[in-house]
């Protein structure tokens, strides 16, 4: 079976249009990030978090009422996967299990006929949260840098830069989508947790793959077709590798869909983020990474002619 016959699409000819599409996506992403803001999870904020399972489905506002009554009005309350599981989080911290106990007794008072059990309880000190936030930024920066150096070393320096610009685009665009979808559905928790961080970091390592496949073919074609212009060669290379970039991403998207459906609440946010990122990654390997290499080379050649 073949999804793609031999294609002759003029990818690079339309790159100016796609630059603006990418720019617009980035802009929307940034607007989302700055105006709606991402929800930070317990890992990054610190505080006390309880996951409780009720026997009967409960109304969120009833739970909120109980939390207000016991004196935690600033807490965040949401369903976790299904209407019986409720995630309660408060930024309050105290030595010992005082807060968790107060929440427990408050809930028992509010729902005398609906028993619940505590599935999970996390208490994170403020120091850990600050440390994780810092580590997350270091980690993203370190991964981007390593990849830039590696790709720059394997190809040419500009390829490394272009690859990382594409990755940056993927991360921001994905983050924008994540922020947009956050809180829309009770079945999808997209607050920034360590798991979501893991999704972004892995995404960086994975989404460069498509770019590498295209660059690899460009390098090969440059050797074979010495007389051709880079414009033609990149177009040719993208067309030749189109089916594999789509299919390698496709197999990963397949398992991600499986993870979203069956992987449980913890993995759903991870899989969703990775899926969005994979789509952006495939797109950006053509319209961001390759296009930047082309434009840089064209500009340098013009300068060389002028000199």
């Amino acid at each position: 079976m073949r999804l793609f016959k031999v294609t002759h699409i003029d990818f690079m000819g339309k790159r100016m249009m796609w630059y603006s599409v990418s720019g617009l996506t980035l802009l929307l992403g940034l607007i989302g990030i700055f105006f709606k803001g991402m929800t930070l999870g317990i890992d990054f904020l610190g505080g006390t978090e309880l996951l409780v399972r009720f026997e009967q489905p409960v109304q969120i506002n009833e739970v909120r009422g109980a939390m207000d009554k016991i004196g935690f009005p600033r807490s965040e309350i949401k369903t976790f996967g299904n209407p019986k599981d409720i995630l309660l989080r408060t930024p309050e911290q105290a030595q010992g299990s005082v807060i968790a106990e107060r929440i427990r007794s408050g809930l028992s008072a509010q729902f005398p006929n609906n028993h619940f059990s505590v599935l999970k309880e996390d208490k994170i000190g403020p120091k850990i949260g600050a440390e994780l936030r810092r580590n997350a930024i270091y980690a993203v920066a370190a991964t981007l840098l390593i990849i830039m150096i590696y790709v720059g070393f394997r190809f040419k320096f500009i390829y490394g830069v272009a690859g990382v610009v594409a990755l940056f685009h993927d991360v921001i665009a994905t983050l924008g989508v994540v922020v947009l979808f956050d809180g829309l559905s009770p079945y999808l928790n997209l607050e920034m947790s360590q798991n979501l961080m893991a999704a972004f970091l892995t995404l960086i390592g994975f989404s460069i793959n498509d770019t590498v496949i295209v660059f690899d073919r460009v390098r090969e074609n440059i050797k074979i077709h010495r007389s051709e212009s880079l414009f033609t060669i990149i177009n040719k290379s993208v067309n030749e590798t189109l089916s594999r970039t789509v299919i390698t991403s496709g197999t990963v998207i397949l398992v991600l869909i499986v993870l979203i459906i069956f992987g449980g609440e913890v993995n759903r946010g991870f899989a969703f983020t990775f899926l969005i990122g994979t789509v952006f990654g495939t797109y950006s390997s053509i319209y961001v990474a390759s296009a930047i290499v082309l434009d840089y080379t064209i500009r340098r050649n013009i300068k060389a002619h002028q000199a």
Binding site: V212, L256, F262, G264, F270
Partner: protein
Amino acid sequence: MKQYRGKLILISAAIALALYFLYPTYQSYKINKHLDTLSGADSTGYIQTNEKDIREARAKRIKVGLDLQGGMRVVLEVNVLKMLQELAKNKDDQFSAIVAEIEKEAQLSDENVTVIFSRKFEEKQIRLSRYYGSLRETNDEIVKKLRDESDKAVDRAMEIIRNRVDQYGVSEPSIQKQGGRRVIVELPGVSKEDEVRQLLQGTALLEFKLMKDPDIIYKTMEAIDKYLLSQGFSDSTASPSASKDTTKATDALTTLTQSDTTKSILAGQKTPEQFAKEHPFFALVRPDQRGLGEGYASENDRARIDRILKRPDVQKLLPSDMEFYWGAKPSGMSEGVKFYQLYGLKKIPELTGGVIVDARATIDPNFNQPIVTMNMNSEGSREWARITGANVNKRMAIVLDNAVFSAPKINGKISGGRSQIEGMENIEEARLLEIVLKAGALPAPVDIIEQRSVGPSLGEDSIQAGINSFTYALIVTVLFMLVYYRTGGAVATVGLFFNVLFIFAVLAAFGGTLTLPGIAGIVLTIGMAVDANVLIFERIREEMTTGKTLRATIDAGYSKAFSAIIDSNLTTFFSGVVLFQFGTGPVQGFALTLMMGVTANLFTAITITRVVFNMMTERGTATINFG
């Protein structure tokens, strides 16, 4: 055949090795399944007869994270400032004011607390010797000492915690040091939060307790033995390892009773079963053969012995000033079962660890033996001289949080406060004793900075989610490959199965922990694993149009796809490395499986599928369907 014989051998070796590492996991699974079918006495009996197998399989099987099996994870940090405060002497208002300032600054800064500490004191031009050390010492000298102490505090905290967790009886606890000041404690299956808190944060209590006369200890044990027999204490579930050892125990009894005036229990020719019936207590605890007064018991019997000793009627049989204490570490192994010593000690301690000023493990230059030297303050020294003088040739047990670490004999009166403890097997043992001796005197205050607990029901849900997503991901991926690449896809499927096998094997071999995100990592690598094959097959399809022979087509496909495969796998591996470095707990589990998946992927894609294709062409297959 010849060209790929080397590869075949390599592949077979890798598979054999993988199966070897995975066998304990399979065995452990089988045992658990078998145990589920048994109930009550049957299952305890089964556990006891297969004790060793079960333990070994458990030790080597793939470990399951707390998020899957439930339990508690606690991160503790040594509170250096609190420690410095507790170490200071002649504390005054000025000192408290400076400490309050340091506390404020330490919260905002990443600087080492001892650095801030010394800077603040220097700013105020106060000599540290006012509060620490002796007057002659300079600030730098004292700061160096304090920093040394704060570095060692983590080890001390860790040893105190390990000791308590061991006594508490958690199965497969994990206690690790993280960085310079943190200890991560993972307690599977534990949910009682307050007990854990007490366990981890209480102050350590070090005591010196005199050991009772061996004769009295033996007679007490004998009295318990007789009493239990008279009570008709049935020992139907006595562990076989203990009964086997009763042969040795009876020997011990023989030597003891010969030197002893008590008659009776000469049990020379009795079978272990008979012995157990007639001596219910000695069947569990066998007295030391040299008549030193300790009893030995297998780790499997500890809980039962504790239950017996706690009974109020049994307690009445003990001399009013005596109590039994366990050794902190096993004293030996026999047939894979650890043996612990049981000591009969005086209830009231002679001295507590607060008097210890310093302890140091070194090698005795004269005899080339590991020793521990211990110094006491003047008050302690006076007491110590009196105690040791009055109890020469008796044994003094060093007890930390109710567990006996050592029970050396007092060779003579020790005046001047400087004692020397000998008889350690090696320097590690001496170092442990050094830490223990310091634990009583030097504080190692810890703060709980992170605590996560997962209930068992959530764990079960997560395991189910993990299994489901793994299975369906495998099915979906295999179906796609078969439909899209036909025969090629079938070969890729073979590679995929080996890939999964290798991931689990490497996980077992390196003692990695499987977490829910870790399962996500494996599922993800299933999707990525076939990518290498996709690259190769697409290339082969391209090469097929150039009219090469089948063999040449496949060779070209592999060699030309190679660089792209290496590059793409390496970049993913890099992000795994970074993630492992910066992540914690479950996320590290994800990073681990991701890195393993990528590595296994390279191996299977380049060697295994290649060999399969080579074998097919060798056999004279004219065409292979790549879809």
